[in-house]
């Protein structure tokens, strides 16, 4: 596929290594970058460099952070005893948008993938276990994705944490608000029925 020469091909190759970007998109973006103002392109390059230099992992929760601890770990007003376990930093953003959660977070930086053979030792599980006595955590909310990987991760963690006498909960799977019942698949609807609650 090496149609272009030198730096242009290098740029296309590098862009093509980004997640979700195929060879065609890489080519399109490369040509776009050639056409934009030199300052705009430099700003992008600079932003990438800065982020790589300054952003690291929070040493407590493994969220992205510009310091030793991330903003959520530093926030004094949050509840220390409840921790919400997510797969990736971007999931924190999704939970925060609900405005329903005021506890701490723990980012696993991935999920157990039975299909890819990715086991718990490749995730930040040990670090989660270490936090529980250290921070006197009493409730763990498992907010991994409702797919095979996320479910496998939640099942594994529940088996590990429950014997320690913690309250372990899993976010409910249910019907999307605004959707029609008749379009719901059986797995989702079955879980929604299990997780039903009394109407006040």
């Amino acid at each position: 596929m090496n149609v272009y020469e030198g730096v242009m091909q290098t740029l296309i190759d590098e862009l093509g290594r980004l997640p979700g970007i195929g060879p065609k998109s890489a080519q399109r973006i490369a040509f776009y970058l050639l056409k934009v103002d030199a300052l705009d392109a430099k700003r992008l390059a600079h932003a990438i460099e800065e982020a790589k230099d300054r952003v690291t992992w929070c040493r407590r929760c493994f969220n992205i952070s510009e310091g030793e601890l991330c903003a959520f770990c530093l926030d004094e007003r949050r509840d220390d005893h409840v921790v919400c376990v997510v797969e990736e930093p971007r999931d924190i953003v999704a939970v925060e948008r609900t405005g329903e959660f005021r506890g701490r977070y723990h980012v696993l930086q991935g999920a157990i993938s039975p299909i890819e053979g990715v086991g718990p030792e490749q995730l930040r599980v040990k670090e989660l276990l270490a936090r529980i006595p250290e921070e006197e955590i009493s409730e763990v909310i498992l907010a991994t994705n409702p797919n095979i990987e996320g479910e496998a991760t939640a099942m594994y963690l529940a088996r590990l944490l429950k014997p320690a006498g913690l309250k372990v909960t899993r976010i409910a799977s249910g019907l999307p608000v605004g959707g029609d019942l008749e379009y719901a698949d059986e797995v989702t609807l079955g879980r929604a029925l299990e997780g039903r609650r009394e109407v006040s």
């Binding site: 039975p114 299909i115 095979i148 479910e151 099942m155 088996r159 605004g178 698949d185 059986e186 797995v187």
Partner: protein, 243 residues
Amino acid sequence: MPGLYRDEGVVLRTIKLGEADRIVTVLTQGHGKVRAVAKGVRKTSSRFGGRLEPMSRIALQCYRGRELDIVTQAETLEANRVLREEYGLLTHAIPMLEAVDQVAQEHEPNPALYRMLTGALRALGELRNPVVTSAFFWKLLSLEGIHPMLDGCARCGHEEGDDDAELIAFDLDEGGTLCRGCARGGGWSLSFPALDLLRRMLGGGLNGVFAQPTGPETHEVEQLGIRAVEHHVERRLRSTALL
């Protein structure tokens, strides 16, 4: 309708595609292995919902594309929920899907393979016995035309009962057991209980095998089954790392 086809199948695996799509690999009853794009399936508003997750047996309708087909409809026939909601069952179900993905050919119907897979998934859910997965590996090899020699030495031909013909190893290249003398040259060690289990598994004694409590020989036969399937497909089965 031109380009459209309907079939039933078991979802073997899914991989993310772009922002919200997935490519689903399905072993169908009548069209062999099929790879199709499920558009928008990762959005919570998707009309496919959880139907296209691995292990689901579904009725599907696809549009034949140039490279990949497109899923246009999917309905659940059997969700196999129990396999998804127990860690030990999930880790034993996925390797069966991976092994099938490796042996099945695209658009080549293999009804026997389909029957075996749906039967094994059902059995694993009902019996909750991990031995189902080992039995599946060995039966899969049989279906592929590989029948291991288990009543003599696959290298020197010594038959059981002969002097010095105690069978103590299994050799993947020879495709069978090895006697004590030949086992010095290699092979995977095989205990007598494991050999006995393997014989009953392949000799039509499956129900007895499933009824019996699991022991160390179960693990031995499982590990050897993994090696044998990997030897046959000439690549690693990644999902067996969690067994």
